[in-house]
Symmetry: C2
Subunit: 194 residues, 2 copies
């Protein structure tokens, strides 16, 4: 039914969202307004209101765009340390070098009052968690880790610490640090419950 959408709609939408994302990264959520996007793109304000009658929707679409960074498929050939390093260094890249690292705090704050914003976070995290899950599942399959290892908690730790360092504590996320992080995770996976 939506077979022949007017290409102008898509073009305007793309152009506007690109500008909105830039504003979001550089000046925060508050800077994302119809007026600001208009000034940056030349798209008239009335047209922007046509596309996004509600400002909240415009901002959420900008959030969404920030959250869509390429998700690399996990490697599950083993050994666990190698696979973990690979998948977590992807997370590091997403946090360090894509828009998400800049924007996530804003989305998290918005999520307090806005259900859509929370969904953006959940979606982003689902992929990442799924990947780490796959890595551990494969390791268990190979017999690298025992049945009694609390895998869910390991996954949470694997992801929580980088998020904490980047978004909350403002600490660096580099590969030296990642090595030590993976070390700890592997120790927990390898050693038997007391």
């Amino acid at each position: 039914m939506n077979k022949h959408e007017d290409p102008r709609l898509a073009a305007t939408r793309e152009h506007a969202l690109e500008a909105a994302l830039t504003l979001l990264k550089e000046n925060g959520v508050l800077a994302v307004t119809h007026a600001a996007v208009s000034a940056r793109t030349g798209i008239s304000r009335s047209t922007l209101y046509r596309h996004w009658p509600k400002l909240e929707k415009l901002r959420n679409d900008a959030f969404l765009r920030a959250a869509t960074s390429p998700v690399f498929a996990p490697r599950t050939n083993g050994p666990l340390r190698t696979d973990l390093t690979w998948i977590l260094s992807n997370l590091l890249t997403a946090l360090n070098e894509t828009a998400w690292g800049h924007v996530a705090p804003q989305v998290i704050a918005a999520a307090a009052t806005d259900e859509q914003a929370r969904l953006v976070i959940v979606d982003f995290m689902r992929d990442r968690i799924g990947n780490v899950e796959a890595v551990f599942a494969a390791a268990r399959e190979r017999g690298e880790i025992g049945d009694d290892v609390p895998v869910r908690q390991l996954i949470e730790m694997a992801i929580a610490v980088p998020y904490f360092r980047k978004l909350i504590a403002g600490l660096p996320l580099n590969h030296e640090w990642l090595d030590t992080h993976v070390d700890i995770l592997c120790r927990l996976a390898a050693e038997p419950q007391h």
Copy 2:
């Protein structure tokens, strides 16, 4: 020199900040404005501008008030598991039952562009991290943990996961979960490096 401050100053300030904190918790940073505080308190708008000529300052003061929850001194008698449980359950309380749990995401988002906001976070965290540090230091003193255990990383994990669950993932923080969390931390502290 500030011996005899006009009591009206302190009274107005207190009253206004209390209202600002409520607005912050219930409706987010954006809701904290001179006008809104005025409406809620009856303090005239012009008086509020007298106290906080810059809106940013008013909001930061509200942040600061949200971050000041009582910090309990750590218990360091041992064993490690008991001490960790005590100090981390304090953190859980702070995140679950004080204003900080509601407000922290907003402060984190503000910290991206506002140095004062970042300081609020750092200050809050310094106390918590210091407490966990003390617990581990005492355990090491008692010989419960070896010299080669990477204590700094354990501290980070101890704190990062609750923060992640509460602020980012939106997962519950209760005592059942805390037990399993302390379990893992104790295992890491107890077992020798490979």
